[in-house]
């Protein structure tokens, strides 16, 4: 326990490292502009393919569709890896398919964690596994998180079985102003990271403001050592990126060009309200938009600005105090942001917290209710599904239970906003990949084989 405590404290610093992920899409030829999008000819292409699943209907459950709607005693039918239909008790389903009675149970889209370090800070948390922060330069948009991800991290399986997580964004840490490109994964075990890459998901660029970059580089006796230094380095870097014509391969500038071209999404670690306001202006100055502020513990102070700029706040329910810029964290953050009309995403930044995003959302909801902000359950579920998908640029493919979308589905054994509920079954692209009633239908990583507790319930 002590060990973990100290790790968590160390993590308080590492956490800061998770704010900037850059996407530099290298061009296939040096003479072509760098492409940032998810084209099939991109390097390290996704080899993920859905596993086989049988046509399945979940019947009689309470459905939260992820888009803010609730259906009582509803029907979710999926086939061929896609959602086919979602509706009330009268929704027709074909004969001769697998039908699960969901009476008394709940169905949601697969949970999405917009902020994870699984794979780049995997367990066991040993030095040899510390692959999340390239702490050798304050701007490293040229590094890609996918090149650090260890697919055998046992944390992926926990996130699936206990958290119902079907998609997640792996970010570089927040030591750097520009930490590198993020990668979005399907939470499906694979021998390779390419086998987990979410097909068609845009890259992100992790950026970080505040204490971490200035502490890390100030501590090395170099710029930035102050918040104004943070901005100066960022601005100069953007100025140089805007001058990049893409003719000569440059990994860092390819990522930044991708951002300026709107193909790579900015995920900006930032705690304080005043700094977030400055960062949004920096985006205006250089012509890019922040997709989400991560951590955003002071988001509630500027809900109006965040709404106007259409920036999501990816936040914890109640973390606070571990560092100066987290001192003003309050449990009502999510509710106050919601009330202001801003976009809320509940994130984990933790291999433990990712297993309980539903509970964190419920805490945030309840904190709002106690100050008179009533947020419907179905809206709260959106915080960990469609809103996360939107901020990650995958909302056309997943994040809600709508016909044609990926059949990423969780059947909960009770209300997902209750502490007493857990995933009972989890499907990813229509394939049943976790089944609490089947001891063998749970992933066990290579690392765990032959070790104490192999295949245990965990």
């Amino acid at each position: 326990m002590i060990l973990r405590t100290s790790l968590v404290l160390a993590g308080a610093f590492a956490l800061a490292a998770c704010s900037a992920d850059g996407d530099a899409r290298p061009s296939s030829a040096a003479s072509k502009p760098a492409a940032a999008g998810p084209e099939a000819d991109a390097p390290y292409p996704s080899t993920y393919e859905p596993y086989p699943g049988e046509p399945t209907a979940l019947v009689g459950a309470t459905i939260y569709d992820g888009a803010g709607n609730r259906i009582d005693k509803g029907v979710v039918f999926f086939s061929g890896g896609k959602i086919v239909s979602v509706g009330g008790p009268d929704t027709p389903i074909p004969a001769d398919i697998a039908v699960f009675d969901g009476t008394g149970k709940f169905v949601t889209p697969g949970i999405i964690d917009i902020h994870s370090h699984l794979g780049d800070y995997p367990t066991p948390s040993v030095d040899a596994h510390n692959d999340g922060n390239e702490m050798t330069n304050p701007t490293t948009p040229q590094v890609w998180a996918e090149h650090s991800v260890w697919p055998q991290d046992p944390g992926f399986a926990r996130a699936l079985a206990n958290g119902g997580v079907t998609s997640l964004q792996i970010l570089p840490g927040s030591a750097n102003l520009m930490g590198g490109r993020s990668i979005t994964l399907k939470n499906v075990p694979s021998r390779t990271v390419q086998g987990m890459k979410f097909p068609g998901a845009p890259y992100g660029l992790k950026m970080a403001c505040g204490e971490n970059p200035k502490r890390v580089y100030g501590g090395k006796g170099r710029m930035p050592s102050t918040r104004m230094g943070n901005f100066a380095v960022n601005r100069q870097t953007w100025i140089e990126a805007k001058a990049y014509d893409g003719k000569k391969r440059d990994l860092a500038k390819e990522t930044l060009k991708g951002v300026l071209d709107g193909e790579i999404l900015i995920h900006n670690h930032c705690y304080r309200a005043d700094e977030m306001a400055l960062v949004m202006d920096m985006g205006d100055e250089f012509g890019y938009k922040v997709s989400a502020f991560h951590h955003a513990v002071e988001g509630y102070k500027i809900g109006d600005l965040l709404r106007e700029h259409d920036v999501c706040s990816a936040i914890w329910a109640d973390w606070y105090g571990f560092k100066m810029e987290a001192y003003d964290g309050i449990p009502e953050n999510a509710a106050l942001l919601f009330k202001a009309g801003a976009c809320v995403v509940i994130h984990s930044d933790s291999a433990n917290g990712i297993q309980r995003l539903n509970q964190e959302a419920a805490k945030a909801q309840a904190a709002g209710r106690r100050i008179g902000i009533d947020i419907p359950d179905a809206e709260v579920i959106r915080w960990l599904t469609l809103n996360a998908a939107k901020a990650m640029g995958i909302d056309k493919m997943t994040g809600s239970l709508e016909p044609g979308k990926m059949a990423d589905v969780v059947l909960w054994n009770g209300d997902p906003l209750s502490v007493y509920s857990r995933p009972e079954k989890v499907w990813v692209d229509g394939a049943l990949l976790f089944d609490s009633s089947n001891p063998k239908r749970r992933p066990v990583s290579d690392f765990e084989l032959g070790q104490p507790g192999e295949g245990d319930v965990k």
Partner: protein, 428 residues
């Protein structure tokens, strides 16, 4: 103006908290006594002179005391959070405000957290608002394997936080201990044996030896550990090392051991139970954070309890906030519905954050609602283990506590973003 009035009321509540204990009864509530039993509905709790005097159904309430309508609410003893850092820090990463460890100190076992604890700490205030009324507080080993002497506190809004200083000594013997002691767990065990032997020498007629490694204050601090008059909390995770720690009592038979961490306790649960050594475990560790936690599982606590081990939930430090002890306990209840998992009943789970940690810490009459117990009473707006529930009123030793803090003040200031008349800085 309305807001100003509200704040005035809270200021009054703050003043009132220094007043004497109140006599009161709560009627018609769902009462969980913390002793492991299931909650009882429509029950009454009577507090008089700072103590619980009656708990049960069909109790007659005399007319000489205020009666609080508990219908639709839950009433419980206050939460008892084990192995916290409450009062020892303001901001984790601000070193001047952080007294959790003293790596540059020449002293270790002699360190005593009691005089460093700040009763006005925001973390104490935030935890109090979360229903936590008592805690053990420890510092963390850094210069040697000994972390120093932990204290027991109450979370009342008054200057007297420490209820028992030097309640326990804390030592790490797992991976962390090995790293501190010289790079190996073998060194940790040697350092441990030597330290206790030197303490015994110091206490003996012959006195301290010339080749003593420990400084005198550290050796003196370990005398009550060797004598068994001060509890020794031992951080250990791995099954093999748990057995090694239990075996230490063959050399030092009076050790009053408490195991802390114990991720792989389920693998040696029968040994722990046979040794009669209680455990303070992290509830939900299920990842191989280190090689000493390979077998960690959320079923660890349930399996140990099933084997007869006394288990409290703990480790509520840093981001593992004491106010979330209820959430952790609730998760263990959730495991009852998970095939092949071993969880706790509601009563057991609630006891693991109330009466059981109190018993392990040696807090008398704490963590339970029964006649004679301290008047630590929390009125909740729902099932306290449910994430959507929160305390409505908190009493410590019968004194109603203020529930406001830095967080609630920020919340109230930013309920709206209206600055049309004056900046937010004038809204207080």
């Amino acid at each position: 103006m309305k807001r100003l009035l509200t704040f005035g009321a809270s200021a009054l509540a703050l003043l009132a908290s220094t007043a004497a204990a109140q006599d009161f009864a709560i009627t018609g509530a769902t009462v969980a006594t913390g002793d492991g039993s299931a909650p009882m509905e429509n029950a009454t709790v009577v507090v008089r002179g700072g103590k619980v005097v009656a708990v049960g159904r069909d109790l007659a309430v005399t007319m000489d005391m205020p009666v609080i309508d508990g219908r639709g609410k839950w009433v419980t003893p206050g939460i008892v959070a084990s192995m916290t850092d409450l009062g020892l820090w303001d901001v984790g990463a601000v070193s001047g405000s952080n007294d959790k460890s003293a790596g540059s100190s020449p002293f270790s076992a002699a360190l005593d957290v009691a005089p460093a604890i700040v009763p006005e700490s925001q973390h104490i205030a935030v935890s109090r608002a979360g229903g936590v009324t008592r805690a053990s507080v420890t510092s963390y080993p850094s210069s040697t394997i000994f972390g120093g002497q932990g204290a027991l506190i109450d979370l009342g809004a008054d200057p007297d936080a420490v209820t028992r200083p030097r309640a326990f000594q804390f030592v790490v013997l797992g991976e962390r201990g090995g790293q501190i002691a010289g790079g190996s767990r073998t060194a940790a065990f040697v350092q441990f044996r030597n330290a206790l032997t030197e303490a015994r020498d110091l206490a003996s007629r012959e006195g301290r030896r010339d080749d003593a490694l420990l400084n005198r204050p550290d050796a003196a601090a370990l005398i009550p550990v060797v004598n068994g008059t001060q509890k020794l909390y031992v951080h250990v995770e791995r099954a093999a090392h748990i057995r090694s720690v239990l075996a230490l009592r063959q050399e030092f038979p009076k050790l009053d051991l408490v195991l802390v961490g114990v991720s792989e306790g389920w693998l040696v649960a029968d040994d722990i139970a046979a040794a009669g050594v209680p455990v303070i475990a992290d509830a939900l560790d299920d990842l191989p954070e280190s090689f000493e936690q390979l077998g960690s599982t959320q079923s660890n606590v349930g399996r140990m309890v099933q084997a007869g081990v006394t288990v409290a939930l703990g480790g509520f430090a840093g981001m593992e906030q004491p106010r979330n002890a209820t959430q952790y306990a609730g998760n263990l209840v959730a495991l009852q519905k998970v095939p092949r998992a071993t969880g706790l009943s509601w009563g057991q789970a609630f006891a693991s954050i109330t009466s059981v940690p109190a018993k392990i810490a040696g807090m008398e009459g704490v963590g339970v609602l029964r006649p004679g117990a301290v008047g630590d009473v929390v009125i909740w707006d729902g099932d306290p283990l449910e994430v959507s529930s929160a305390p409505m009123r908190v009493f410590i030793d019968g004194v109603e506590q203020p529930l406001d803090n830095h967080q609630t003040r920020l919340r109230d200031r930013y309920r709206d973003l209206d600055e049309s008349d004056l900046p937010k800085a004038y809204d207080w």
